[in-house]
């Protein structure tokens, strides 16, 4: 109620100007039969102070990473979100603007998106990036929609080591696209290039993840080569925070690179909102979904930015559009831009090396055997002597969340725990985890 701005006097004047006696008259176009003849059954209005108190009480009932030492990852990571992000998120102009349809009103957000696109291209080694997809799942579906249009094949291949949620979303979307989904099982934690290549022979695209969901580094260049050789578009699902130390998908021949942007600049936030990124080789630019910002000049020849190649989009192309996406995840992607710019090339490399070093330490220090031999980036799958979910339950009683129970998604992995580290974990944190695991796995 407190967000309305009209006074009683305003209302009276306005009704007079309209020429009606009451607001009800304006609603006469709503047939009587479909009117709600009662008040909405909603809890009573709260003033700001009471509302704040109520919601704070809800928030207090969650166990967050500030109160529990957490090794949860499995797609969402607690990399450090620097304070410069607050500048982006707290500026009312960014926060309360919408899609920059009118470029003269929105040069700032347009320029920022252009910078974001550049950063995504640099990291992935690609030529073009859109201005964001919903998340790391839907951008994989977007990649399939592109592949469907540039190929006459009607299958997509997913490595089983691709994030299960990503695979689920692709499977939800695929029937509408007229695509069949084939999955290629892992072999000891990673994907076999030959097996993938074989499966790809009928496929429009192949999607694999680097580092993969089981915490292993895939032989990504070999996977991409196998897919390409089979005539399928190789699509890498990657983690931006790894790309200071891991090779860019563009450098090993991928056609597209997609991923979940959360790790770069967004808080876990119980799953969202975050941003999905999607980058491609130049040849696919007119098939990309969503907003793309381009550079041009204004009437005075001054550099200016604008949404471009809009003939791809739903508001122009309608049923022939490359996607239905409209509202996207711009603000979150700009938080990503700020974070990556704050890190710079050195910082990003350092984050990657911290992850590598800590993951190695996890392997060596914890009283559990690694489930797979392949090297890790920031996650390690470990065998547990009792069900991993039970290990989680017990460890949490000691104030430590030891990681993700892979049995949630993979059959036969009930005794596998996926432990994640980021640069925010320390040696001492891993030591503490080792202690707790020793205690609860006895």
């Amino acid at each position: 109620m407190s967000y309305l701005s009209l006074t009683d006097a305003d209302r009276a004047e306005m009704l007079a100007a309209i020429g009606v006696a009451s607001v009800d008259e304006l609603f006469e176009q709503v047939p009587a039969g479909v009117r709600l003849g009662r008040a909405l059954d909603l809890p009573p209005a709260l003033g700001e102070a009471e509302l704040a108190r109520h919601v704070e009480q809800l928030a207090a009932r969650n166990v967050h990473t500030g109160v529990e030492l957490s090794f949860l990852g499995a797609g969402i990571y607690d990399h450090y979100v620097p304070a410069v992000v607050d500048v982006v998120l707290s500026r009312g102009e960014f926060l309360t603007a919408y899609t920059p349809y009118q470029p003269e009103m929105s040069q700032g957000v347009l320029q920022a998106i252009f910078e974001y696109q550049t950063v995504i291209c640099e990291l992935t080694g690609m030529d073009v990036s859109n201005a964001s997809g919903y998340d790391g799942c839907t951008v994989a579906a977007d990649a399939c929609y592109i592949a469907k249009h540039v190929s006459d094949r009607r299958t997509v291949v997913l490595a089983e080591t691709l994030n299960p949620q990503v695979r689920q979303v692709v499977k939800t979307y695929a029937p509408g696209f007229g695509l069949k989904v084939v999955e290629v099982p892992h072999r000891g934690g990673t994907t076999d290039p030959d097996e993938l290549g074989a499966a790809a022979r009928e496929a429009a695209a192949v999607i694999f993840q680097q580092p993969n969901f089981l915490g292993c580094l895939e032989p990504a260049p070999d996977l991409a080569a196998a897919a390409a050789e089979a005539g399928a578009l190789p699509v890498a699902h990657v983690d931006l925070m790894s790309l200071g130390v891991l090779e860019a998908p563009g450098a090993y021949g991928c056609a597209l690179a997609v991923g979940e942007g959360q790790s770069a600049g967004n808080w876990p936030s119980y799953g969202g909102p975050h941003y999905g990124f999607l980058a491609a080789r130049g040849e696919f630019v007119r098939r990309l979904p969503g907003r793309i910002v381009g550079e041009t000049v204004d009437a005075d020849g001054r550099r200016a930015f604008t949404l471009t190649l809009q003939t791809r989009e739903q508001h122009i192309r309608r049923e022939k559009a490359t996607s239905n996406i409209t509202t996207n995840q711009t603000l979150l992607s700009l938080a990503g831009l700020a974070t990556l710019a704050w890190l710079g090339p050195e910082g990003l490399r350092e984050v990657g090396e911290a992850c590598l070093a800590l993951a190695q330490y996890v392997r060596e220090r914890l009283p559990l055997e690694p489930a797979f031999d392949a090297p890790s980036f920031k996650e390690v799958a470990l065998r547990t002597p009792l069900p991993a979910r039970e290990v989680v339950r017990r460890a949490r009683e000691h104030g430590v969340h030891p990681g993700y129970a892979l049995g949630r998604d993979y059959e036969g992995m009930d005794d596998v725990l996926l432990v994640a580290v980021t640069e925010r974990r320390t040696r001492a944190d891993v030591d503490r985890l080792a202690e707790v695991l020793a205690e609860v796995c006895r």
């Binding site: 109620m1 967000y3 306005m14 009704l15 309209i18 607001v23 304006l26 609603f27 176009q29 047939p31 479909v34 709600l36 909603l42 209005a45 919601v55 928030a59 967050h64 529990e68 499995a74 620097p82 410069v84 998120l89 009312g92 102009e93 919408y98 899609t99 470029p103 700032g108 320029q111 252009f114 910078e115 073009v128 964001s132 839907t138 979307y173 509408g176 032989p219 200071g244 130390v245 891991l246 936030s269 119980y270 799953g271 969202g272 909102p273 040849e283 204004d298 739903q314 049923e319 022939k320 239905n324 509202t327 995840q329 711009t330 890190l343 710079g344 910082g347 350092e350 070093a357 040696r427």
Partner: protein, 496 residues
């Protein structure tokens, strides 16, 4: 660095242009442990050319970019169909509470009861608002809600063994509707709008058949008009065994007044960033929950948020589900804001819609003598004017009017949409605007109409008071430059 002293908007260099080799802001923690070697070929060969900028310059950069961006916080933003209402700042505080912000989505349900309860309560409140019993919060935006809805239809009909391949939309439909139809694998059929701005019932009857899976409709329509025949429309579809989908983009007009479920819709999406005040963030994020009738509930995406006694949990054990449409249970931070918004109003949400409609009708009443009104009715929360008259008489287009509004410190309305109205100006003031802002808009629009006659070049060349003048959009599309080129790359990115 110095260009044109006295210019209000100095040029803003790109981050990459501010970059200097060896400069940096962040220094991540180092664990003091050996870094293992990577297998050959996996290590990055060439470092990414991220900008190298110090923190002070980074802050100034984003401050400067914000200054070149116009938001609701800057001024009036009557962008039709987008519901650019005030975004309460309290919500930013709430979404940033550590108990929400730092909560991992894989956290065990018993350690996320506050978050789950919030989602469950939000579902309940949204259900009451739509007049439909079951809600999924998962979809990321309205468009994804649409797609989800269409997938639900497919699952529903498949389960019943019916083969239906066509979705009907209005000719006034938003572009997302037909785009979603295609993405969902359906065939599109369009129905016309009649002279009062309602669906043409004759045309509709002719098109609905046993192949029809359903209708997608925005009501009030993108013309800002409530479909007076909605009951008959629903009857036609239901009689044909088809379903009705409600595009909730315009829900702001009817909350507490008329519920989509009561209108006869079977599936509804909400745009949390429109009706329920999630800030638009320069393009997003949004939220597109979907509500459905009992009969469609079994197909909703997983996970669902369910209540058992006093406990809440995520439930993925739904054999008939269409599956998952995005990660986790949805954009949780958006839910915090929507929840807070609804709790701030309570049942007085109705008043929100009443004022949204009052504000729109006030503008309509005060502008109808200078701009053409294609459908002569009271409007709902928005209305569409046509600049056709100005075009004919003075050669001034809707775009010219839009650009000139900028000089009056006002964000232009949506233009050239809906397609059925030539030179369309689609105006949505929202309920949070005070009368003075509305009057300021009226004055500006009237002044512009006057200028169109007196000095049309002022409008053709507008804007005059923004960081840039009108852009060469053709060049942007014909010679696309879609990333910074580091003084080395080709002018065109799209080589192929």
């Amino acid at each position: 660095m110095i260009s044109e002293p006295g210019r209000a908007w100095p040029d803003a260099p790109l981050l990459f242009e501010r970059s200097r080799a060896g400069r940096r802001a962040g220094r991540p923690p180092q664990p003091g442990l050996p870094v293992p070697e990577l297998p050959p070929g996996l290590r990055r060969a060439r470092p990414p050319r991220l900008p190298e900028v110090s923190e002070p310059e980074l802050v100034r950069h984003f401050t400067a970019l914000a200054d070149r961006t116009f938001g609701v916080d800057t001024g009036f933003y009557p962008l039709g169909s987008c519901t650019m209402k005030h975004n309460p700042r309290l919500h930013e505080r709430l979404a940033a509470l550590p108990g929400f912000r730092d909560l991992h989505p894989h956290q065990e349900d018993e350690a996320a009861q506050g978050a789950l309860e919030l989602m469950w309560r939000l579902q309940e409140m949204l259900a009451e608002i739509a007049g439909l019993p079951a809600v999924t919060l998962q979809p990321a935006a309205g468009s994804q809600g649409e797609l989800t809805g269409l997938m639900l239809m497919r699952a529903y009909f498949a389960d019943r063994g019916e083969e239906r391949d066509t979705i009907i939309t209005a000719d006034t439909a938003h572009g997302t509707n037909p785009a979603s139809v295609t993405m969902a694998g359906y065939r599109l059929e369009k129905v016309e709008t009649d002279a009062r701005g309602n669906l043409d019932l004759a045309d509709l009857r002719a098109k609905v058949s046993s192949r029809t899976a359903g209708l997608m409709l925005t009501n009030p329509s993108t013309l800002g008009l409530f479909d007076e025949g909605i009951e008959e429309v629903a009857r036609i579809f239901h009689d044909a065994g088809a379903l009705l989908y409600y595009d909730g983009a315009n829900l702001n007009a009817v909350v507490g007044i008329s519920r989509p479920g009561d209108m006869g819709f079977d599936i509804v999406h909400y745009n949390l960033h429109k009706t329920f005040s999630q800030p638009h963030g320069g393009g997003g994020p949004g939220g597109g929950p979907v509500a459905v009738r009992e009969t469609i509930e079994p197909y909703l995406p997983v996970p669902r948020v369910v209540r058992e006694g006093d406990a809440y949990r995520l439930d993925s054990d739904r054999p008939k589900t269409i599956g998952r449409v995005r990660g986790f249970a949805g954009p949780f931070g958006v839910f915090v804001r929507a929840y807070a918004f609804i709790r701030a109003y309570g049942p007085a949400l109705r008043e929100m819609s009443e004022v949204a409609v009052l504000n729109a009708n006030y503008l309509l009443a005060r502008l109808r003598d200078v701009y053409e009104l294609p459908y002569d009715r009271h409007c709902m929360h928005e209305f569409v004017l046509s600049a056709r008259g100005l075009k004919r008489e003075h050669g001034v287009s809707a775009l010219d009017v839009a650009k000139r509004l900028m000089d009056y410190g006002i964000h232009p309305p949506t233009v050239y949409f809906p397609l059925v109205v030539p030179e369309a100006l689609m105006i949505e003031p929202t309920e949070t605007e005070p009368k003075e802002r509305l009057d300021g808009f009226v004055e500006a629009m009237r002044a512009i109409a006057h200028e169109a006659a007196e000095s049309p070049e002022l409008l053709h060349e507008a804007p005059h008071g923004r960081p840039v003048r009108r852009l060469d959009e053709v060049r942007a599309a014909k010679q696309p430059v879609l990333r910074y080129r580091f003084e080395e790359g080709p002018a065109l990115v799209e080589a192929g």
